[in-house]
């Protein structure tokens, strides 16, 4: 297992407020990491920093991509995404008025090119590429049991399915790291259990690194190989689920009492 993402002393200030202070962490190939902590601890801010939605005040992020190790500092969100860091959002951010298929196809935009002429004049190569990419997307959707809904507008999907589609969209980017921001939020225990299986499957079959923010301890403790605990913007603890469950600082700040 080698390091794929390395975060050093990351700081983010909003005005006078320090949302993330001196956070360092490393992610390895093929592992499933959870990021937990009280609301407002800076978890989503950390995700935003890692995926380029906001820029850090200081600190370094380096990523070992297919073309060697690069720094993510100063890169735009779409560049980071195209390097192989995909994510979902806490409040679902699907393209609501696009179909399920189109939602996935958007994420594949940078994986293929269509010449301007072949786009505008529908040359044979256009149909060829469209068919190929659509097939690829449909196959991916089928893995997640969404093949029936390809033509449905995203906004018309039930809540749980929207969450699932968002994960599919992120996977369509062929990421090396997948960031999931509260994927189980709003799901009932049954759906959560399904989701747990799904995430496991994704991680196993696609061999990618998955990082998730989650409050549902059943999910976290079942899934995560390692856990980072964030509190007040700072890294409070890290370790295996067993270690974290017994960490007194974590219990005090977050878990409240010992979790069984």
């Amino acid at each position: 297992m080698s390091t794929i993402l390395k975060v050093d002393d990351l700081v983010k200030n909003f005005g006078g407020l320090t949302a993330v202070s001196d956070v360092s962490m490393t992610l390895n190939d093929d592992e499933l990491v959870a990021l937990i902590g009280p609301n407002g601890a800076g978890k989503t801010t950390l995700f935003n920093l890692l995926t380029g939605v906001i820029t850090p005040s200081s600190g370094a992020i380096s990523f070992r991509g297919p073309k060697g190790t690069v720094t993510l500092n100063g890169k735009k969100a779409y560049q980071i995404a195209n390097l192989g860091l995909a994510r979902t959002f806490q409040n679902i951010r699907l393209f609501k008025d696009l179909t399920v298929l189109d939602n996935v196809l958007v994420a594949m935009t940078s994986q293929y090119k269509e010449g301007l002429l072949s786009t505008l004049f529908r040359l044979p190569s256009y149909y060829k590429k469209e068919a190929k990419i659509a097939k690829e997307a449909t196959e991916l959707l089928a893995i997640f049991d969404l093949q029936e809904s390809v033509d449905v507008l995203a906004k018309n999907l039930p809540y749980g399915i929207q969450r699932r589609l968002e994960i599919v969209r992120a996977l369509a980017m062929k990421p090396q790291i997948l960031f999931l921001d509260e994927p189980a939020a709003g799901m009932n225990p049954e759906e959560t259990a399904d989701l747990t299986r799904l995430i496991k499957k994704v991680q196993r079959e696609f061999h990618i690194t998955v990082v998730l923010i989650e409050h549902d301890m059943s999910l976290v403790m079942n899934l995560a190989e390692r856990i980072y605990v964030l509190d007040h913007g700072a890294m409070l603890a890290q370790g295996t689920p067993t270690e974290i469950k017994q960490n007194p600082a974590v219990i005090k700040a977050y878990l409240g009492e010992e979790v069984s």
Binding site: A86, L94, L98, S110, V152, N156
Partner: protein, 322 residues
């Protein structure tokens, strides 16, 4: 396989309709049923279709509220006026369209790169300002003959030319919208942050839509100048941009079919109102308010006429099926 066959079917259907439309118009014209007055109306509608579909690409599909369409139209119009006045040949005319498109593209990049960072109404007012700056510059140049405008422009944009241009630009815009590029710009419209996180370079795609819209506006301007044979800076003011916007919103933001329908409806309404003298604009204004109140999403909402759906009988906006 069937999808491909079907695609062929749809494409052919569209082509048949376009050709049939052409022959129908031509027959009616030869029979004298379409006289120069109706022809005039049809050409104006055609030019408005080009303008509205182009603006709809920017507003309805890329979600960028531009209020400066008339500025780019002016560029095309003046390119054609200046070039064909000096070189009154068909070659000169087509060259002038190309030149107009190129200048409009350059202008759109100059305007778009800084302003497309803005959002919503701020973008609207910035683009409106940019278009006014273009108009004021034209108004004060020698080569454009200042506020007097230019007239006696040779007429190359006869109705068949306009008809073909309408078909071509509409096909191009429709093809653009239903492609990788179209999905990218629609994702920007839906959610810029999510689009960025899905690897979409939102800045570039917004600019692409804006530039494409500007290019088609320039084509419309060229046709307008050449058909009417007279242009003046006052034709390309804020009110012109607004009237194009009205077509787009009335037809339905995000519906190319809607833009076409609205251009036709408003074109006929406008012509019919000529007979009402001073009351004309009063009726027009009242109609506008009433349509908007009773049909807030425009005549067609975001629906499109599509053979794919006519043939297969399914509705795109299907309910939840899973």
């Amino acid at each position: 396989m069937t999808i491909l066959k079907a695609n062929f079917k749809y494409n052919v259907s569209w082509l048949i309709i376009m050709v049939a439309g052409f022959y129908l118009m031509n027959t009616l014209m030869l029979m004298g049923i379409i006289d120069s007055f109706i022809e005039n109306m049809l050409v104006v509608i055609g030019i408005n279709i080009i303008l509205a579909t182009g603006l709809n690409l920017v507003i309805g599909f890329a979600g960028q509220f531009s209020l400066g369409h008339a500025g780019f139209m002016a560029i095309g119009a003046y390119a054609t006026a200046i070039i064909t006045t000096n070189s009154a040949t068909a070659g000169g005319f087509y060259t002038s369209i190309v030149v107009g498109v190129i200048i409009a593209i350059i202008a759109a990049i100059i305007v778009g790169v800084p302003t497309l960072r803005l959002r919503g109404d701020y973008l609207a007012i910035a683009t409106m300002g940019a278009a006014e700056i273009i108009r004021i510059i034209i108004n004060n140049l020698q080569i454009t003959n200042g506020p007097s405008g230019m007239f006696n422009i040779p007429q190359f944009a006869t109705w068949p030319v306009v008809y073909i241009m309408v078909c071509v630009t509409t096909i191009l815009i429709a093809n653009f919208v239903r492609s990788r590029a179209g999905r990218a710009i629609k994702s920007v419209r839906e959610d810029e942050i999510a689009a960025e996180s899905a690897g979409i370079n939102t800045t570039n795609w917004k600019l692409a839509a804006f530039v494409f819209g500007a290019a088609t506006a320039a084509i419309a301007g060229s046709l307008d100048a050449s058909y009417l044979q007279t242009i003046a800076p006052t034709n390309f003011g804020i009110m012109e941009s607004i009237s194009i916007l009205i077509i787009v919103v009335l037809g339905g933001v995000g519906s190319l079919t809607g833009s076409v329908v609205a251009a036709v409806v408003l074109g006929i309404l406008d012509t019919a109102l000529q007979n009402f003298g001073t009351l004309r604009m009063v009726i027009y204004a009242a109609a506008l308010i009433l349509i908007m109140i009773f049909k807030p999403t425009g005549l067609l909402g975001s629906h499109e006429l599509s053979f794919k759906h006519l043939f297969s009988g399914t509705k795109r906006k299907g309910r939840v099926r899973s």
